[in-house]
């Protein structure tokens, strides 16, 4: 129970800080869901930078973490009346419906499974958990543990936001247990669902599509995360970044959106190595999309620089840490071998149809259609490029590609499928009720 209360308390602090910064920098976020989700991602990124900063100056996390909520009252993030968006119809959560009840029930079921530790990711035991334990014991980053030459199996070069978050939860709760970590997966599920709900409402899709999308996306995510054991793992973070990024690339461009794109990209980059290319694709996609709007190149360039600033800091700190301690693992990459393509595709064919997906992997093949649809093309391109990155990794890995595909492909698909489901419902909305779905769908 202590771990649950601590997780909720830290999540509250993260939301408080992030909400202030997000609404200050991107005040025209159209829905409350968007504000909550993007605000929380802002909070996570700021918490990550805060903990890294404490580590750099040698302040124990158990002391410095309690100052973090004060960032909400930093002179910058106070809501500025002159930048506040006018009240918009979708700025509230909207009416409650049975689909919300279904989503909440599924999240509750996932919470029970997680509380019982029935669905804990093996990688939590193999490396995320041990790293978090060591950070908890060290009251900060245990560089000696990460750099130990006999410890390469813990992937010391991976970004460390997740174990830092787990360790912080343990430090605030005065004990590190698996529960100090796994409840965060419930938070990531809830935020992913909230992001999808906000994206569909922002589009002002027909109500039945919003409800249908909410049920399908929550069911699919809960299904896979339970059966394929995702609690405590880092794949949730990429899934969340994908749906949040998809929501932003579907929404009409707005002043301040660059900061939100930057927060999502920085969050992805802080989560996993796979998040670094995702961050790059998100930034490039945002910039290209903006450049097609008729804005002056200087304006587009400024927006791109704004969007890139936060991810650049996160990625820079990661590279600095990895280089400084010599952590990069040679096993991460090898020479590209196109001759493996047949073998990799054949193995992918069997890995994708893992029973845990119940055939849902098939929706990946809708990506070409979503690439054509005007509303979803940039989000679909993001998912397609991310998927192709995974294919590239399989073709260039120095380890056995068959084993790698079999053990990772189903959960790498988890990064993409909730976002693809979201795109499908957005595309359906445009098809079944053709009307002005906003700036981008109109093609202005």
């Amino acid at each position: 129970m202590t771990a649950l209360i601590t997780t909720i308390a830290i999540l509250g602090a993260v939301m408080l800080v992030g909400y202030r910064w997000a609404t200050w920098l991107d005040p025209r976020m159209p829905t409350l869901e968007a504000r909550l989700v993007l605000g929380t991602l802002w909070g996570f990124v700021l918490l990550h930078l805060w903990l890294r900063g404490l580590d750099l100056v040698g302040v124990p996390w158990s002391l410095g973490a309690y100052i973090f909520p004060a960032l909400a009252w930093w002179p910058g993030p106070r809501p500025r009346r002159d930048r506040e968006a006018p009240a918009e119809p979708a700025a509230r959560l909207g009416g409650w419906s049975p689909s919300d009840g279904v989503a909440i029930a599924l999240i509750a079921v996932y919470t029970v499974f997680t509380q019982r530790l029935w669905n804990v990711h093996p990688d939590f035991v193999y490396h995320w958990g041990p790293k978090a334990s060591r950070f908890f014991l060290a009251d900060g980053i245990d560089h000696g543990y990460l750099a130990a030459p006999w410890n390469t199996h813990i992937h010391p070069d991976y970004p460390i936001f997740l174990p830092s978050l787990y360790a912080l939860t343990g430090l605030v709760g005065r004990a590190f247990t698996a529960h100090a970590a796994v409840y965060w997966s419930v938070a990531f599920l809830s935020l992913s669902v909230l992001a999808c709900r906000g994206a569909l409402r922002d589009l002002q899709a027909p109500v039945w599509l919003v409800h249908g999308g909410l049920i399908v996306i929550t069911s699919a995510a809960t299904m896979f995360a339970t059966g394929y054991l995702q609690a405590g793992g880092a794949d949730w973070l990429i899934t969340l970044a994908m749906v949040a990024g998809t929501g932003l690339l579907i929404a009409p461009p707005r002043a301040g959106q660059a900061w939100s794109i930057g927060a999502v990209a920085a969050f992805a980059a802080a989560a996993k190595i796979e998040g670094v290319p995702l961050a790059a694709f998100l930034l490039v996609g945002f910039t290209i999309r903006l450049s097609t709007t008729g804005l002056r190149p200087a304006v587009v360039l400024r927006a791109a620089l704004r969007a890139s600033s936060l991810p650049a800091v996160v990625i820079g700190l990661w590279l600095l840490r990895v280089a400084r301690h010599g952590l990069f693992q040679a096993s991460n990459t090898g020479p590209f071998d196109g001759q493996r393509l047949g073998l990799v595709l054949e193995t992918l064919g069997s890995a994708w149809w893992t029973p845990n997906w119940h055939g849902m992997s098939a929706i990946v093949f809708l990506l070409p259609v979503l690439l054509i649809a005007r509303t979803t093309r940039f989000a679909a391109a993001l998912a397609a490029l991310q998927g192709l990155t995974y294919l590239f990794i399989y073709l260039s890995t120095p380890v056995d590609p068959v084993a790698l595909v079999l053990t990772t492909a189903p959960r790498l698909l988890f990064h993409l499928l909730p976002a693809i489901w979201l795109m499908i419902f957005v595309a359906l909305a445009v098809v079944v009720e053709p009307r002005d779905y906003g700036w981008w769908a109109c093609g202005r």
Partner: protein, 145 residues
């Protein structure tokens, strides 16, 4: 189409939850396949008394290696479980067999028993601890059938 998607996803989710509950109840994870163990499985619970005893005996940061009767691939995963349960210690899972000069203790799982030069220190649950040189070491009892 929307209703079909919803029926598909809710039905699949219900099946997956049922399957997960069945697996939890059946607890089918074999002792010799730690790569398949789950955190809530009984195989992990069997390791915990040994981990508790070792933790009580050894100071933090003590170097420890793990020996196992399992084939190398599974022995590696068994070592990862020990490392997870003993984060305070420097549990080495790199498979090095030439680090005896550096290793102070060894956790022996199953019937692997201590090496000749490793002095038994304690026995608990599914394993034991033995010490090298003038220090201690860790070795264990047999795996239950």
């Amino acid at each position: 189409m929307c209703a079909a998607f919803a029926a598909w996803s809710v039905g699949a989710c219900a099946l997956e939850l049922y399957r997960s509950l069945w697996l939890v109840a059946a607890d089918p994870w074999a002792a010799d396949a730690p790569s398949t163990w789950r955190l809530s499985s009984s195989q992990v619970s069997r390791l915990e008394p040994l981990a508790e005893a070792v933790r009580a005996r050894l100071p933090a940061e003590t170097p420890v290696t793990v020996s196992s009767v399992l084939r190398p691939g599974e022995a590696f995963f068994e070592c990862l479980w020990v490392a997870y349960l003993l984060p305070e210690l420097r549990v080495r899972c790199d498979g090095s067999t030439t680090a005896a000069s550096q290793e102070t203790f060894r956790v022996a799982l199953g019937a692997s028993g201590p090496a000749e030069d490793c002095r038994p220190v304690l026995r608990a649950g599914v394993g034991s601890l033995c010490a090298y040189g003038s220090t201690i070491g860790l070795v264990a009892a047999d795996l239950p059938p």
